[in-house]
């Protein structure tokens, strides 16, 4: 409604900071079903305040994970940053400029891969490159496509259709597609959520390796504490919804490049893990309690 509430001085303040993304007082209300017809049929619902007054700054070249109980509004928040959904109030700035719509400066990896089933692996990536860089020569486009197929380890599967490859390979395509357009920020909504534990582990290592190479700003939603600790510089912990807020932001001090064993043997690992477990346990239990008392 009032997207531009931030005063000019506020904007100046933002441009001076070093953060790449900053959220100021971001709230999202999903309007309920209203009107006499819904009331008559008993289907009316009230407005739902999903996230309330979120403030968050994300610096350049950091990997940030968002973790929180199911249904708290993580996807809502990420979709707002992606521009796929608009905030009801508050402002979202990227490099000091308000975000209004989706754009190729933010690359998105979808939980359910969202590959086009009629395009081969190669064509899915090429579609992204062609869309974002229509001006560069086809030869150069092919080079970018090939490079990213190599980056995610899909050589040999270029001509296969999405329905002919495994879930892990599909998500590799999803990651390659997001990276191929060279976005400033990588957004990932539970990228490994639909994978088995083993494949998940492999892909986490892969993402860690790729991230070390590219060091792009990344925002990832996850339900896995280990995953967040392995990959992130900072972990944003959200409270339960409705009206979810940011509870706490953890700094993850592990040196990079990381691998599973060095991370797990780091002195701070257990303490961080315990803190996150407690947070998630507390919030999830409160959600259940609220559900039962209804």
């Amino acid at each position: 409604m009032n997207l531009s509430v931030s005063s000019p001085s506020n904007i100046n303040h933002q441009t001076m900071t070093t953060s790449q993304i900053s959220l100021r007082h971001v709230s999202k209300v999903f309007p309920g079903r209203k009107g006499w017809l819904n009331k008559l049929t008993g289907q009316a619902t009230s407005d739902f305040l999903a996230i309330d007054d979120i403030n968050l700054d994300i610096e350049h070249n950091t990997f940030v994970s968002i973790i929180g109980p199911s249904g708290c509004g993580k996807s809502t928040l990420l979709n707002i940053i992606a521009g796929l959904s608009s905030a009801t109030s508050g402002s979202i700035l990227m490099n000091g400029q308000p975000i209004a719509k989706p754009g190729p400066d933010r690359g998105m990896v979808f939980q359910n891969y969202a590959l086009m089933p009629w395009m081969s692996v190669e064509d899915n990536i090429r579609f992204a490159v062609e869309t974002v860089y229509p001006k560069i020569s086809p030869k150069e486009q092919s080079r970018i496509v090939k490079e990213h197929i190599q980056l995610v380890g899909l050589v040999g599967a270029e001509k296969k259709r999405p329905n002919e490859i495994s879930g892990g390979m599909r998500q590799r395509v999803g990651i390659a597609r997001a990276l191929a357009i060279n976005p400033q920020i990588l957004l990932m909504d539970e990228p490994f959520g639909a994978l088995d534990a083993l494949t998940r582990g492999f892909l986490q290592d892969e993402v860690e390796r790729i991230w070390e190479q590219e060091r792009k700003t990344a925002i990832m939603i996850t339900h896995s504490i280990e995953e967040a600790l392995l990959l992130s510089d900072r972990i944003v912990m959200m409270t339960r919804g409705p009206a979810a807020k940011i509870d706490e932001i953890l700094e993850v001090p592990f040196p990079r490049p990381r691998d599973r064993t060095t991370v797990e043997n780091h002195p701070a690992y257990l303490k961080l893990k315990q803190e996150m477990e407690e947070h998630l346990y507390r919030e999830t239990r409160a959600v259940e309690a609220a559900r039962l008392s209804r």
Partner: protein, 277 residues
């Protein structure tokens, strides 16, 4: 390993010719066909059916004669069945193509816009269940030409399934694909041609398939009132009261219908790409 091999071998042994499902089905088919022809032959000879009902052997003989002499031309009332078939196919092809050229783009436009689909839906819902033959007098009055009227009837009959299916397919493209296009900043036009239409293609093709089926149903009926074509062939033989040729024509119409349908079944398979990804 060896156990599996033995099992496979055993299975193969059991899968003798008589065990195979397809062979069984074929045998049952041939058996029932034989039974049907025998019943027909005997029944017709004993005059069990209507008076003048031809025997199976006579009908088969006629079928053989018509299919081995498809192309002769002794004027419109004595035309080889091949010519009549081609005439019918030509009318269907023209009418169906016109309908499809209108229906697919219009369906895409309507499917994209929620307002348009709500606004125009009453027309389609109203016109879809109307028998195409109801348009015949109107067509004759407007065009004063039986050939154009025939094509008009085919077009008006085959436009609705394609239109409705296309609009449905376009309106129900998975939001995931649209989100991908949006996050890439794809233009509206690029989204339509590269994402929406390919995603809706299975629906479009099945709409085209239904439309083709309807065209082929309608052309026969329309031609009875128009002159030339397979429908007129049947009508003419009815006037001659020569029933075997009517049965021959029914058989040929059915076979051509199967062929047309199978072409679209093949196309459907081509664009389905297995399950969603």
């Amino acid at each position: 390993m060896t156990i599996i091999k033995e099992k496979v071998a055993k299975n193969n042994q059991n899968n003798g010719l008589l065990e195979n499902e397809n062979v069984k089905a074929l045998l049952l088919f041939l058996f029932s066909l034989g039974l049907f022809l025998a019943f027909w032959e005997i029944g017709a000879n004993l005059k069990l059916f209507a008076k003048g009902m031809p025997t199976a052997s006579l009908t088969l003989k006629e079928l053989w004669w018509w299919t081995t002499n498809p192309f002769f031309n002794n004027g419109p009332n004595d035309l080889g069945i091949g010519w009549n078939l081609l005439i019918s196919l030509r009318r269907v092809a023209i009418g169906y193509t016109i309908a499809s050229i209108i229906a697919v783009p219009l369906g895409v436009l309507i499917g994209i816009s929620k307002v348009a689909s709500k606004a125009f839906n009453p027309y389609f819902q109203l016109l879809k269940p109307v028998s195409p033959l109801a348009w015949l007098p109107l067509g004759l009055y407007m065009f004063r030409d039986s050939e154009i009227t025939g094509i008009f009837i085919i077009a008006i009959a085959s436009i609705w399934p394609t239109l409705i299916n296309t609009a449905f397919g376009v309106a129900n493209v998975s939001p995931d694909y649209l989100d991908v296009a949006k996050t890439l900043g794809a233009s509206r036009l690029r989204t339509i041609f590269k994402v929406i239409i390919p995603a809706a293609l299975p629906n479009i093709i099945s709409g085209l398939r239904i439309s083709m089926g309807i065209s082929w149903l309608v052309i026969v009926a329309a031609e009875m009132l128009l002159g030339t074509g397979l429908g007129y062939f049947i009508w003419n033989e009815w006037n001659n009261l020569y029933i075997p040729n009517i049965i021959v024509a029914i058989f040929i119409i059915g076979i051509v219908g199967i062929v047309l349908d199978q072409i679209f079944a093949y196309l459907e398979k081509l664009v389905s790409f297995g399950s969603k990804a």
